[in-house]
Amino acid sequence: METLAFMVANWSVILARTLEHLSLVGASIAIAICTAVPIGIAITPNPRAANAVLYAASIMITVPSIALFGLLIPVLSLIGQGIGYLPALVALVLYAQLPIIRNTYAAITNVEPALREAARGMGMTTFQRLREVEIPIALPVIVSGVRNAVVLNIAVAAIATYIGAGGLGTFISRGISQTDVRQLLTGAFSVSVLAIAADLALLGAQRLLTSPGLRT
């Protein structure tokens, strides 16, 4: 009850924190899509390169987030950005690589060879084949990789408050340091709702982006 009263009284701060959180996650995912999807496609013709890339990305995701933030501080200090928004963004972009690369790679390699052959035989260039056939068919699986990445990054971004990146994690960290259950619960609840809402929204987007011919 107290928590609810706190939330009502501070709704504008919660909204501001939520927007901070979303902008961090949104920017990281946008950048990650631009890097991970092309990488996922580029490694399809070469299984050895694919293994190497997927392995590297899995190692990246195994590093605990707080450790990754720590590692980035000395590196980014060189350009005077040791803490704050930029290291948080860099870490999130790195974390988002694996789910998106893995799904893109799996989806493109799973496109039936016969479709690829038909596309080549009819005179499509590699680029046209990707645009007309492979990417549309792979899209549902790629978007589901993006969903994984978004949910993961909403969670990781909550920890980014410790390097001064703001976001909903602020409520949690303050709740802990001030032993204030209201703030703690507000932060935990908001992050959870945000993750669930983002996942559902992307599920809707996934349905919209899937050609009716591919729906089951």
């Binding site: 016969a114 479709l115 052959e117 596309a119 035989g121 009819m122 005179g123 007309e132 011919g213």
Partner: protein
């Protein structure tokens, strides 16, 4: 016209296609036939350069394909594969229009053409244009696969076991449809198959491959009547003579200008005619010459009356445009040694006998 000159493809140490020379005249269907691994598919895929030849040349209408851009070349060649390969994310209409779209045709023109093409293969455009491939049966999908290859009206069509994955009943129907289409469009077709029956049915010429070499290249009837070696003979089957039945029309095997009687003729006249020709029965025709019935010598001899009062129904009738396979099937079915042959309108044109058929097929073997 397609010409292959000393065409060779090796993969490492294995030679998949070995110095193949052949020519497919414009408007003909050439079936590349042979067991799996004989090089027939590799040969076909070198024509649209999905596989690059190791050496040798391919000329289409006199132009060397090696000098052309691969993508441009492929857009000018229709391509149908066994797995059909319709794009599941596109509607039937958009699937058919893939090559026209690549070529930058006006959208309205290509969509109109998609509708026309669908009706050519008996698929109602209004029903099917906006559907997705998964909503069609296998047979319907391959009909779309065939018309998709024809969409940009290419002079050359490559077909890689196109009907191999379709159930036998539908396969016959779709083969017949394709032959009808081909009779109208006169494309130069290279068709890969491992099914001798399909080859005999579809081919103007059959090219038989073995271990990458072209063993025999001839008209279907020649392949069946005169296989060049025991491999070809085995491949076409011990029943190759029966397969030839499909290639010969009733009109070519029947005795034409047969004797006939009408209902008003007397039995004496019928008997006299049969004795004159050495027949044991004679066909009765209607006033304008349609086959109506039959009179048998053993029943007519010594009796009086007219043919009209004493005829029996015809045991079996076959059309002059049917092939001998149908005629023989009908003979067996009705336990007859002869059949009356009629044209499309039912006019009596001749008769065909088991002896006549045996003789015709045997005569070809006599030559060799």
């Amino acid at each position: 016209m397609i010409r292959l000159e000393r065409l060779t493809k090796s993969f490492g140490a294995t030679v998949a296609v070995d110095h193949v020379d052949m020519e497919v005249p414009a408007g003909e269907v050439c079936v590349l036939l042979g067991p799996s691994g004989c090089g027939k598919t590799t040969t076909m895929k070198m024509i649209n350069r999905l596989i690059a030849p190791t050496s040798g040349k391919i000329l289409i209408d006199g132009r060397d394909t090696a000098g052309q851009d691969d993508v441009t070349l492929r857009r000018s060649i229709g391509y149908v594969i066994q797995q059909i390969g319709l794009f599941p994310n596109k509607t039937i209409e958009d699937n058919i229009c893939v090559v026209p779209d690549l070529l930058g045709w006006d959208r309205r023109r290509s969509r109109a053409r998609a509708g026309e093409l669908l009706s050519l293969v008996n698929l109602e455009p209004a029903t099917f244009l906006k559907r997705y491939p998964k909503e069609l049966s296998g047979g319907q999908q391959q009909r779309v696969g065939v018309v998709r290859a024809l969409a940009a009206d290419p002079p050359v069509l490559l077909m890689d076991e196109p009907f191999g994955a379709i159930d036998p009943i539908n396969r016959e129907v779709i083969q017949d449809e394709f032959m009808k289409l081909q009779a109208a469009l006169k494309k130069t077709v290279v068709f890969v198959s491992h099914d001798i029956d399909e080859a005999v049915k579809m081919a103007s010429r059959i090219a038989i491959f073995r271990d990458g070499r072209l063993i025999q290249y001839a008209k279907p009837d020649d392949v069946l009547a005169h296989p060049v070696d025991s491999f070809v003979a085995d491949f076409v089957g011990a029943d190759r003579t029966l397969k030839r039945l499909r290639l010969v029309k009733v009109a070519d095997a029947m005795m034409s200008e047969p004797p006939r009687v009408t209902a008003e003729d007397t039995l004496e006249r019928a008997v006299a005619l049969m004795e004159e020709h050495g027949h044991v029965s004679i066909v009765m025709v209607g006033p304008r010459g349609r086959a109506r019935g039959v009179v048998r010598l053993d029943l007519a001899r010594g009796r009086r009356g007219t043919v009209g009062e004493n005829h029996e129904p015809l045991p079996g009738i076959v059309a002059v445009t049917d092939d001998l396979r149908k005629a023989v099937a009908m003979m067996f079915q009705h336990d007859q040694t002869w059949l009356a042959c009629v044209d499309d309108e039912g006019f009596y044109k001749g008769y065909i006998t088991q002896r006549g058929i045996t003789h015709l097929l045997g005569a070809t073997y006599g030559k060799s």
